[in-house]
Subunit: 240 residues, 2 copies
Amino acid sequence: MIPLRGIPELEKGDDLAALIVEAARAAELEDGDVVVVAQKAVSKVEGRVVDVSVVEPSERALELAGETDPRRLEIILREAREVLRSRPPLVIAETQHGFVCASAGVDASNAKGPDTLVLLPVDPDASAALLRERIGALTRTEVGVVVSDSFGRAWRLGTTDVALGVAGITALLDLDGQRDSLGYELHATQIAVADEIASAAQLVMGKTDGVPAAIVRGLRLQGDGLGRDLVMPRARDLFR
Amino acid sequence: MIPLRGIPELEKGDDLAALIVEAARAAELEDGDVVVVAQKAVSKVEGRVVDVSVVEPSERALELAGETDPRRLEIILREAREVLRSRPPLVIAETQHGFVCASAGVDASNAKGPDTLVLLPVDPDASAALLRERIGALTRTEVGVVVSDSFGRAWRLGTTDVALGVAGITALLDLDGQRDSLGYELHATQIAVADEIASAAQLVMGKTDGVPAAIVRGLRLQGDGLGRDLVMPRARDLFR
């Protein structure tokens, strides 16, 4: 795990792939490397930033806001497909992509000011694919890309980083039919390797250090997985 | 992340710490290393193994089993404090420790035969503390220990490894009051670093490779966290 330091504060339209390649110069990107990029960095260069000062909160936003800024809740409701639980000001919502997370992924920290909110990318898999393509063009290497974000979990405290967007690697490693070291068949075991890669990278990226990307090297997980492979289909979901 | 290979199939009473130290000889354990050990390895040396052939299934076990072995369900029910959801033969249960997971942590794969089930350790934090102490005595190093297991998640497909037992490191990294790189305060952000360490280690331990332990080096997370710090208290839990 190699943190990529020295990436400046990002603006809409910045060439994030080029900045990553520049920051990775000392580590020299290799075929099979996985480049993990914080969602917030991706969202900023894609212009997924909202100024709440121009937002008019709805009745529902006022209800859910409790003592907090209802304009923030209004933005969250616009990003949400469904609110699963709320305890003001906490909202657990399903995003338009199908992710279930706090505040429908809307986040304030690291943004440009108290009135600025950062939204999730519109299509994190497309964001990952574009970064992978551009990094490939700049370095002639075949890397994987994971766009990561910190999600809370049911039943457990604290956040772990998960993969919202994936390109060039397996996202869900299927062990169905594989046998363990004693010869017993492992039934329908799937490992969310892309989420584990995001979590591993978080350990070197931190949250306050301004390190928006890291390389995870040596995994041999080349494949064509997607972040959306990791979203549980509603029909299989026991917790809605 | 350094996988520890060459640890043999384990039996009740084996000196797991000594086997880990032996397997880690090439890597030379260092102060601050985190040794991640698969729960199943710990359970086996602690004798947390059950022969289902002597078990009489209850009515409830017969109901929940569907087409599968009701004796397995009987063991799961004995391990469970509460069944949260069931769709035969899948059971999501809260264990006596407060963990919410499939089959109350009861697992067959890697065990000694089709009639043998492996249960979670009675007290994974005590297991981790004991391993830490014994590794320290053998090597004169101050390592952290994480006892890990693969858990499914609500809303997301696939398993990621989490920390059941922790010793010698921070489990939940509290960023409350810390400021990000632009000076904004991060409110009540807690990172489940012990879970992220377990996930990172899983990437090199695999599930079919017979690698029951790994070293995660370079994190500087020395502390006195516990696996039970990561269990969400019922009062805060929106998903029961």
